[in-house]
Symmetry: none
Subunit: 247 residues, 2 copies
Amino acid sequence: MLQEERFIEIVKLVENRKSVTVQELMEIFNASESTIRRDLNALHQMGKLIKVHGGAVADSGYLSLDMDVAEKSNINKEEKIAIAKYSASLIKNEDFVFMDAGTTTEFMIDFITAKQAVFVTNAISHGRKLARNGFTVFVTGGELKGITEAVVGEDTVRTLKRYNFTKGFFGTNGIHLERGYTTPDIREALVKSQAMKRCRECYVLADESKFNQVSPVTFGGFEDAIIITRNLKNNEYKKYKNVKEVN
Amino acid sequence: MLQEERFIEIVKLVENRKSVTVQELMEIFNASESTIRRDLNALHQMGKLIKVHGGAVADSGYLSLDMDVAEKSNINKEEKIAIAKYSASLIKNEDFVFMDAGTTTEFMIDFITAKQAVFVTNAISHGRKLARNGFTVFVTGGELKGITEAVVGEDTVRTLKRYNFTKGFFGTNGIHLERGYTTPDIREALVKSQAMKRCRECYVLADESKFNQVSPVTFGGFEDAIIITRNLKNNEYKKYKNVKEVN
DNA sequence: GAATGAAAATGATTGACTATGACTGAAAGT
DNA sequence: ACTTTCAGTCATAGTCAATCATTTTCATTC
């Protein structure tokens, strides 16, 4: 049997059954464990399925990738909380705030004391949390991405155009002097970019690991926001006046 | 069984039943206590559910804040599920569907077989559930009401004006020949009303208790939708051709 | 159209890693 | 006080990526 055929059959199987184990595939194709593993790696790389421990699940499933997010939220947790705490203190009662998706911005919510502030967010989980804490909160309309539970797309951008925020808090995957703020997803970048344009003051929340990183899509220039960070070892960035280091 | 599968199933169980015990999960999955505990810890960490002593509850804001809603979802549960099941069968692959907030419409989601259908909803919980089940789903923008987790307001209505649905599924608090379909909240009524206007076919899902009830605000006339119900004792309504009784 | 050699695909083996279930003493609920 | 539930530890079985040897594929050459 051709490798290509097997690829196609595996994808079909995963889509129909939602999940499949390496053992099952070995029997079905009379192939060795190595071969099946290689296939799954390749298909995972291509984005045709999501490889998990023991086998693979369909890409429509939301959990597997979310695990990375969960893991991620534990990395530099102390840093993020300190950053979030300071950021939350910037929000005053009269503010109209855009809150971006992301783990660091999520940490902010519990520290916000200005109960009269009004929020707009494109992150479902943030919206729920804000609403639960008694804030007035609007969510942007648009397509709900299963994996990150953020709202993206044309609709979202359109909705944002009608708002004028006093402050905006953003997450980022990379900070770079020339490339600015970057993120891996183009649709999320469009939303971030539009939101930044609508804010009087933009704040980018980032731990040390984000500096000098570049992701595929830029959503803002380095000068466009104040960076709130902590324990910055990279002296290169310390000198810029829009870099705020907190304790 | 893959760990991943178990994760997904547990989340579904928790969302459907609103709460679940460790013991129940052990029996359902034939897994040890340790495994179930580990799963619940992981899912709690991911924010997919709330771990409590003895098991877990849904992370839907429902339970903790508004016991009434939780109770409400258990009243006439059998009826509602039967109604939901039939309603779900009406959705075809080529449909562009509006799905209203409410417990009955929520039950529909697990029964929808047309995986190509596209959904718009103003209920956050519905959106998450649809996305998790692999559907393409858009949420309307607007103010997030903490308790019901529905999105309402001027923004929502504005967003809806740009859509043309093939089918819409609605909940209601009252059905009355002259007063039509009614709900207690004026802002929700505005959303429902606009959504109904944008649908080629409207379906109102209602158990027997809703007939001859009138709530403060009307969002549609009796003739504007097909009522899907069950065990209708009230003969007065049986004769209308837009009343569909299911088994 | 057979022989040749490079590239690709496969299968077996390894040690490292992950998931699981049983057990334990501590903590929580009654 | 008593029972249930909990988090942590351990041993075991299953799964993983990496490596290497073998086979297959295929274009090139004679």
